[in-house]
């Protein structure tokens, strides 16, 4: 592991690991709510923030956080209305976001290489202050997602029931929207705007091939995210590939491997004769009364 004696590689690795852990912890709620691609959309919006940051020579990451948060809140408010036109509104927001970003970057003095860094990630350019930002925001996202798991689970599972339980449904939804924006923005450094959703969603999809419950899925997805991030950075270092894409390729490779193994395991279990479980004697008793 002599590669990691270089400080920039070490920083890249630590940044990737934090994001690998935080992204699936948030992504599981998005998957549960069938909003798996929302991270992608918010990433598009974040790009406008990047463009504005480059144009006005302020921090692109902070501008991206602001733009992504505004976008995420707008999307949540559209979703809350629950109208079919929400679909179109989302499309406007997404494509407006990416087009605005490209135009603003073009107006600034930045090169297209700079734009590429945000589109596909530039882990190895992670500075010390970037790493601090990633660590602080990543920890905040992780703590919120883990500490509020029962409440967030309830809201994503059955929103009406959550409302009748007296939960602050709108507050929790906005919290999810804002943490999505924050996660997207810090993950933008690692995997890039175009690949963010993969890190949020693919580990969750992989985990649920073998898990039975929500908590187990969340834990497994976080382990898988951590693995994909670590192994991806290592692969990028030894094979000289793009780190962001390597992380995503590994995440998808584990999805394929786990799915095939799980399917094989189920086939073996089915082939083995198994005694049928007793058909709930409790009910039979009641039914006879």
């Amino acid at each position: 592991m002599s590669l990691f004696q270089y400080e920039f590689m070490l920083r890249a690795l630590i940044g990737a690991l934090i994001i690998g852990l935080a992204a699936p912890a948030l992504g599981i709620y998005l998957v549960q709510r069938r909003l798996a691609l929302i991270g992608d959309g918010i990433g598009h919006v974040a790009l406008t923030g990047v463009g504005a940051g480059l144009l006005f020579q302020t921090s692109p990451v902070i501008m991206a956080v602001i733009a992504a948060t505004i976008g995420a809140i707008a999307i949540e408010l559209i979703r809350e209305r629950g109208r079919t036109s929400g679909d179109l509104a989302l499309a406007l927001l997404f494509y407006g976001g990416i087009a605005g970003g490209v135009v603003l970057v073009g107006l600034s003095d930045s090169t297209s290489a700079n734009l590429n860094a945000y589109l596909f990630g530039a882990l190895t350019t992670t500075s010390r202050s970037d790493l601090v930002t990633i660590a602080v925001l990543g920890a905040a996202v992780l703590i919120a997602m883990i500490a509020l798991r029962p409440a967030l689970f309830a809201v994503c599972h059955d929103e009406e029931y959550a409302r009748v339980s007296g939960l602050p449904v709108r507050g929790l939804n906005l919290l999810l929207a804002i943490t999505t924006a924050v996660t997207v923005t810090i993950a933008m450094r690692a995997v890039g705007v175009l690949l963010i959703s993969a890190l949020m969603v693919v580990p969750v999809a992989t985990a649920q091939q073998v898990t039975r419950g929500f908590r187990a899925t969340m834990a497994a997805a976080m382990v898988l995210g951590l693995f994909a991030a670590g192994a991806g950075v290592w692969l990028a270092a030894v094979a000289d590939t793009a780190p962001g894409a390597s992380v995503v390729v590994l995440a998808i490779a584990s999805f394929i491997v786990v799915t095939l193994l799980a399917a094989g395991w189920r086939r073996i279990r089915r082939a083995r004769p198994e005694p049928e479980p007793a058909p709930e004697p409790h009910e039979v008793l009641l039914g006879g009364s």
Binding site: R33, F153, D158, E160, Y161, V164, E283
Partner: protein, 254 residues
């Protein structure tokens, strides 16, 4: 005088200008088991949703335990059982995890679950006969068992009032019986129940009062009416017996 648990006065609800409930009044007092009956589209589900504050009233008022539903905060006193499990479950969840949601109203969102929560979940699962399925994914359960999971979720919060929206629709007989047992236990402990039903089946002996909603107004409020109309048709799967003569009932089309 027994305290009023639910009070809806002159409630009006409309969706997109189309009236669903017109001037409906309903009072449920502590310890009552009230069934709201009516044909599909009569507005009976809207009625319970309005009582819970899930749909806004365009006129009239609802109170729960003597408080305006808008300002009502003691949700731990209410257990709600929706018609079916929400569709938004893309991630597997165990039966126990779903039932544990029922503790949130009592516990709040920041406190982690403790022993009392786990015990309440276990006893709610026993009450509906699903104790052995606690660790199974909800998606692997039959429709009736999923419905019982939702009832367990409501019972886990130890509510004083249970509101159920068509709890037995499309549910197998075994689950209906298990469900009636759970409800009997709840009512025997002094709980108040408001349930929407298309037909009562094994729940019939538990009901103390029936309210029939027809075209958005209350057509009957009192004793449980005899089944009639298509409910009395020979091909209708009745779980309870009734006489050979078809009495003129509230659902008869003539």
């Amino acid at each position: 005088m027994t305290p009023e648990v639910i009070s809806l006065t002159h409630g009006v609800v409309g969706y997109d200008g189309r009236p669903v409930l017109r001037d409906v009044s309903l009072t449920v007092t502590a310890g009552e088991v009230v069934a709201i009956l009516g044909a599909n589209g009569s507005g009976k589900s809207t009625l319970v949703r309005a009582v819970l504050g899930l749909v806004p009233l365009s006129a009239g008022a609802v109170t729960l335990f003597g408080q305006q539903v808008r300002r009502f905060r003691q949700w731990q006193r209410v257990g709600y059982v929706p018609q079916r499990l929400g569709a938004g479950s893309g991630v597997p969840a165990t039966v126990a995890e779903v039932v544990a949601s029922g503790r949130l109203a009592r516990r709040g969102i920041l406190r982690p679950p403790g022993r009392a929560d786990r015990e309440a979940v276990a006893s709610a699962l026993r009450a509906v006969g699903l104790a052995d399925r606690a660790k199974d994914p909800v998606a692997t359960l039959s429709g009736g068992q999923q419905q019982r999971t939702l009832i367990a979720r409501a019972l886990a919060g130890r509510p004083e009032l249970l509101i159920l929206d068509e709890p037995t629709a499309g549910v197998d007989t075994a689950s209906q019986e298990a469900f009636a047992g759970a409800l009997r236990g709840f009512a025997a402990d002094g709980g108040t129940v408001l349930l929407v039903a298309h037909e009562l089946g094994p729940l019939r002996p538990l009901i103390s009062r029936a309210v029939v909603v027809h075209h958005g107004v209350v057509a009957h409020d009192g004793a449980v009416p005899d089944p009639a109309g298509h409910h009395a048709a020979p091909d209708h799967d009745h779980v309870h017996p009734h006489g050979p003569e078809e009495p003129a009932g509230l659902w008869s089309t003539t």
